[in-house]
């Protein structure tokens, strides 16, 4: 996906309706979540989500400043 398509400049995004409608059947309880590479804001190094989940239950909240 192109970053300009993903990072919309004007609210609401074109894909909002799809996202809310599709969540009910997406990545349900019992399934295995992806293990993306992310950047740790503390230090700037790359980490995988599994580095946290292997320690135990991990709350993952998605959000932005706005």
């Amino acid at each position: 996906m192109d970053s300009d398509d993903y990072n919309y400049a004007t609210f609401p995004p074109d894909d909002d309706v799809y996202a809310f409608a599709g969540f009910a059947t997406h990545l349900r309880v019992g399934s295995t979540a992806p293990d993306p590479v992310l950047v740790d804001l503390d230090g700037g190094g790359e980490v995988r989500l599994s580095q946290f989940t292997r320690r135990g239950l991990t709350v993952v909240e998605f959000g932005s400043f706005t």
């Binding site: 996906m1 192109d2 970053s3 993903y6 990072n7 919309y8 400049a9 004007t10 609210f11 609401p12 995004p13 074109d14 894909d15 909002d16 309706v17 799809y18 996202a19 809310f20 409608a21 599709g22 969540f23 997406h26 990545l27 349900r28 309880v29 019992g30 399934s31 295995t32 979540a33 992806p34 293990d35 993306p36 590479v37 992310l38 950047v39 740790d40 804001l41 503390d42 700037g44 980490v47 989500l49 599994s50 946290f52 989940t53 292997r54 135990g56 239950l57 991990t58 709350v59 993952v60 909240e61 998605f62 959000g63 932005s64 400043f65 706005t66």
Partner: protein, 148 residues
């Protein structure tokens, strides 16, 4: 993830550096003590998890999904965490347990004052765009598309 309500003060991400700067501003403004992990510029992780603006998951070992909600409500997350920790303790105690599947219809407190303050912080355009979207929603218009 991407900015949910971009405005003049915090516009959409045109670079990874801007995304990092906004994440730092978020952490500073709310005094966030939890680890903050930043997705790439195209939202690879965010899209893989469902691309909603404020969803929450609780993951166990091997990234197994044990709780998820399409909006983050701290009180509900706490209830789920307490429950899951209790189950884990029961398992350690040797209690006989059988797995089952459950869903819940949540109800969260809507803090309109905090939300409006957030829109203002983002910039006047964020306020206007949300008000216009609200008016269209009230008329029953569906905004956006069903396409990926």
């Amino acid at each position: 993830m991407r900015e949910a309500h971009p405005g003049e003060h915090y516009p959409h991400h045109e670079s990874f550096e801007r995304k990092i700067a906004h994440a730092n501003a978020f952490r500073g403004h709310f005094d966030v003590r939890r680890p903050i992990l930043v997705d790439d510029l195209t939202g690879t992780a965010h899209r893989a998890f469902g691309r909603l603006p404020n969803m929450a998951y609780i993951l166990g070992p091997n990234n197994r999904v044990v709780f998820r909600s399409d909006w983050t409500d701290p009180a509900t997350v706490r209830v789920a965490l307490d429950y899951l920790l209790r189950v884990r303790q029961h398992r350690r105690d040797g209690m006989r347990l059988a797995p089952f599947y459950a869903e819940i219809e949540g109800a969260r407190w809507v803090d309109s004052a905090a939300f409006d303050a957030g829109l203002l912080r983002n910039g006047p355009r964020a306020v206007t765009e949300f008000r216009e979207a609200q008016e269209r929603w009230a008329r029953g218009e569906h905004l956006g598309s069903l396409k990926r």
